[in-house]
């Protein structure tokens, strides 16, 4: 077998052996493979479907030092009603905020639900945790950070891995931290917040590292693997996302389990998002195109999709101000 399940305890020796035994990546070939998907087109009726699907996969994000309760309320409203003129548009998958903003998001969602227009699914609230974005704090602080957000009502936790530990070869540290944060995601009633593990691929630099970090996160029990924090310039790219999709594809073959992928940062246009959809469908299959298995971490993407959607329906360009800003 080209890839086998990890064997033995997650000691650094075992992890190193395992990760370094993964097949190598040829960067040129990888990028040419991506170029092939980019040329695919989605036309006609499937385009409307695709645009709605993109919206339902978005983690609408605000991660600013200047975030306020008001900003969070606005974000939740936008997430629930992307376009006030067309209530057939699905809501986004989640809003993604800093941990201390979770209570305001929960409150906003709660108010919203009381006088809402009956939507089947509940808008998820995701919180970044573990000393986001750098991850530079002690494990105790990271765990407290996570517990805090979960206690405040976060449905999902977006944690960052310790890139310093990864780059210096301390894979066990990265592994143990993911395991510990996953434990901290457990609520008092025994249920658990969904754990997304951010690899921050821009700092890992090579595709081989991205593959290793993906497998490390998968082995440690991630529910989702996510490309980036969005805080450094090299964020989600097609090749990096493809490497991660291939990891979850092979993980499914190996274990039967489906793990999600979330490209985040730098996805701003509908065209770009459509390319991601094609890549997902072609690599792991269309079954991955659900909020449980694929997300876009983005802020400005939503409105670009809405403009496209209107243009598609009316056949005319839209006025920028027809769409609400969040």
């Amino acid at each position: 077998m080209i890839i086998e399940p990890i064997d033995g305890l997650p000691t650094n020796t075992n992890l190193r052996r395992y990760l370094w035994g993964l097949p190598p990546i040829d960067a040129v070939g990888l990028e040419q493979r991506v170029a092939r998907w980019v040329k695919r087109s989605i036309a006609g009726t499937s385009q409307t479907w695709a645009l709605d699907r993109i919206i339902s996969l978005i983690d609408l994000t605000t991660l600013e030092g200047a975030d306020t309760p008001g900003k969070i309320r606005s974000l939740v409203t936008k997430g629930c009603i992307p376009d006030h003129d067309d209530r057939s548009i699905p809501q986004v998958a989640a809003v993604c905020v800093y941990g201390d903003m979770v209570p305001y998001a929960v409150e906003a969602r709660h108010r919203f639900r009381q006088n809402r227009f009956a939507s089947e699914s509940v808008l998820q609230i995701a919180a970044v945790a573990t000393a986001f974005p750098s991850g530079r704090s002690s494990l105790a602080v990271k765990i407290a950070d996570t517990r805090d957000a979960v206690a405040a009502g976060a449905d999902e936790i977006d944690m960052v891995i310790d890139r310093g530990a990864f780059l210096s070869g301390r894979y066990d540290t990265v592994f143990e931290q993911i395991v510990a944060v996953k434990e901290a995601c457990v609520r008092s009633d025994g249920s658990s917040a969904h754990l997304k593990v951010i690899l921050e691929t821009g700092e890992l630099a090579t595709y081989d590292n991205v593959r290793r970090a993906s497998w490390l996160a998968l082995c440690a029990g991630a529910d989702f693997i996510k490309t980036s924090t969005g805080k450094i310039s090299s964020a989600a790219t097609h090749p990096v996302t493809l490497v991660m999709l291939e990891a979850v594809r092979d993980w499914r073959t190996l274990t039967g389990k489906k793990i999600g992928v979330k490209p985040a940062g730098g996805i701003r246009t509908t065209t770009d998002a459509l390319r991601y959809l094609v890549m997902v469908a072609e690599t792991v299959g269309e079954e991955w195109l659900t909020p449980a298995l694929f997300r876009f971490g983005a802020s400005s993407l939503l409105n670009d999709v809405l403009h496209h959607r209107r243009t598609l329906h009316t056949g005319k360009p839209t006025n920028t101000n027809d769409i609400t800003i969040d």
């Binding site: 077998m1 080209i2 097949p23 190598p24 990546i25 040829d26 040129v28 070939g29 990888l30 040419q32 493979r33 092939r36 040329k39 695919r40 087109s41 291939e246 469908a281 072609e282 269309e286």
Partner: protein, 469 residues
């Protein structure tokens, strides 16, 4: 996703004129008698082209001879360079038209003709434009002399690229040309003729005629044709070849997948080579040697990838595999695959339902093949992969070299020192490491190993005494 093939109503503007003519002495000339050109995807008639007569062939050669004597040989290298650049620009400006013509008539997906055939055809003219004014540097003597008029017999597959790859160096070296389009796939060459007939190239420098084997025979026997360049598989007869014959290689392709390969890239590269980028003028389905300790896994991964390929309308931009363009290839494919199955090979195909009209084949993988299986020696053209196991790099080399044909090889391994050593020992013209892509006028390539084996610029076949200098 790929369960059924639907041939869509074409979205592109493909309204073709009722007939296409030959390009002779700068004029589009129509023949009295014509025959239909078929769209291999649905076997409907696309348009008609003339049945070229002896008179026409003579007129074409005559025009070329005169143009060589009176015009082309009198021009400076710089002027010839500018004409070649003009052709390159014309290809660029009409890329879509050419790509659609090629796809409609040959069944090759538009994505490929658009992204590979046409840009490369353009690149070949650009590259050789740069040689027209520096022939004295080409290592062919201080002032290499052109042959005169060369005739180029095009294959049905990638015919435009085939034309560019041979016509560009021929023109750069100072020859004038008569191009004979493929009998079944004449459209790309004829559209090319339409495009270049009014861009200011002196009349008679490029002439394009249609026709079957008889036209070719006429060209072969014509005393003013100084060289026949026949590319690929359009020529099936073993007719008498004159000393002027210059035949480019049949390219056989071999992949060697070592156990330390970048597997995702290897799978994609092999699938591309076998099923998609069939930008080969003629090609046996590739042989894939896989190290035995990863054999089963690689075969599974190949199947998984091939299952995702879309077979369908060549003009649909999401199509990976179009149709075949030769009935004989389709029948022969079935024969060979059935025989292989009876000889103990494991046959797998995607199981898709094929349309009743048109020349279609299912992507097929033959595994459990050994080097002594007869199928390894077959020349079958079609969407087929033949996968064989090997134990050690040494064995892979021995097995890959066990052929009388020249071939090109791709080694998939992360260990460069081993790959270079294997490259040394393989009897291939071109060895690629971790890529199946290589088509560039600046590099000797498996497309024209003969040209380049003798001289790296690819100009030598088109000048006097070129081969011996």
């Amino acid at each position: 996703m790929t369960e059924n093939i639907s041939i869509h109503e074409q979205h592109h503007n493909t309204n073709l004129p009722e007939k296409y003519g030959n390009l002779i002495n700068g004029e589009i000339v129509y023949e009295k008698d014509s025959y239909p050109v078929i769209n291999p995807a649905n076997e409907k008639t696309l348009t008609t082209v003339g049945k070229t007569t002896t008179t026409t062939i003579n007129a074409a050669v005559n025009a070329a001879r005169k143009a060589h004597k009176n015009v082309w040989s009198q021009l400076s290298g710089s002027e010839r360079r500018n004409h070649l650049l003009r052709i390159a620009h014309a290809i660029h400006d009409n890329a879509d038209k050419l790509a659609i013509a090629e796809s409609l008539n040959s069944g090759k997906p538009l994505t490929e003709t658009r992204s590979i055939d046409i840009p490369n055809a353009e690149a070949w003219f650009f590259y050789y434009a740069g040689w027209a004014d520096k022939l004295n540097y080409a290592g062919l003597g201080a002032q290499p002399n052109a042959l005169g008029t060369t005739a180029h017999i095009l294959p049905p597959n990638s015919s435009l690229l085939a034309a560019a790859c041979t016509v560009a160096p021929a023109l750069a070296a100072g020859n004038t040309v008569v191009v004979k389009a493929s009998a079944t796939v004449p459209l790309p060459a004829l559209v090319f003729g339409e495009i270049i007939h009014n861009i200011g190239i002196p009349p008679g420098v490029v002439n394009i005629v249609t026709g079957r084997e008889d036209s070719e025979q006429l060209l072969r026997e014509h005393p003013d044709v100084k060289k026949i360049v026949s590319i690929g598989s359009d020529v099936h007869s073993d007719g008498a070849r004159t000393h002027t014959d210059h035949r480019t290689h049949t390219d056989h392709r071999t992949h060697i997948v070592c156990d330390d390969a970048p597997f995702d890239e290897a799978i994609e590269g092999i699938v591309n080579d076998a099923f998609m980028r069939r930008n080969r003028f003629t090609a046996r389905s590739p042989l894939v040697f896989v190290q035995e300790n990863v054999y089963d896994d690689v075969v599974e991964r190949l199947k998984h990838r091939v299952r995702g390929l879309r077979v369908g309308d060549p003009l649909d931009t999401n199509t990976d595999i179009g149709s075949m363009n030769c009935r004989r290839d389709v029948t022969y494919f079935a024969q060979v695959v059935n025989a292989a199955e009876n000889e103990g090979c494991e046959r797998w195909d995607t199981g898709i339902t094929l349309p009743t009209n048109g020349l279609w084949l299912r992507p097929t993988i033959l595994s459990r093949v050994s080097i002594s299986s007869p199928v390894v020696r077959e020349n079958v053209y079609g969407p087929l992969l033949i996968v064989l196991p090997f134990r050690t790099p040494h064995e892979a080399i021995r097995h890959a070299n066990n052929t009388r044909h020249s071939f090109c090889a791709t080694i998939w391994s992360d260990k460069a020192s081993r790959a270079f050593a294997m490259a040394d020992q393989l009897g291939a013209d071109t060895v690629r490491i971790n890529t199946s892509h290589s088509c560039d006028p600046a590099s000797p390539s498996d497309i024209f190993p003969l040209d380049h084996a003798q001289h790296k610029t690819g100009l030598s076949p088109y000048v006097q005494n070129g081969e011996t200098v």
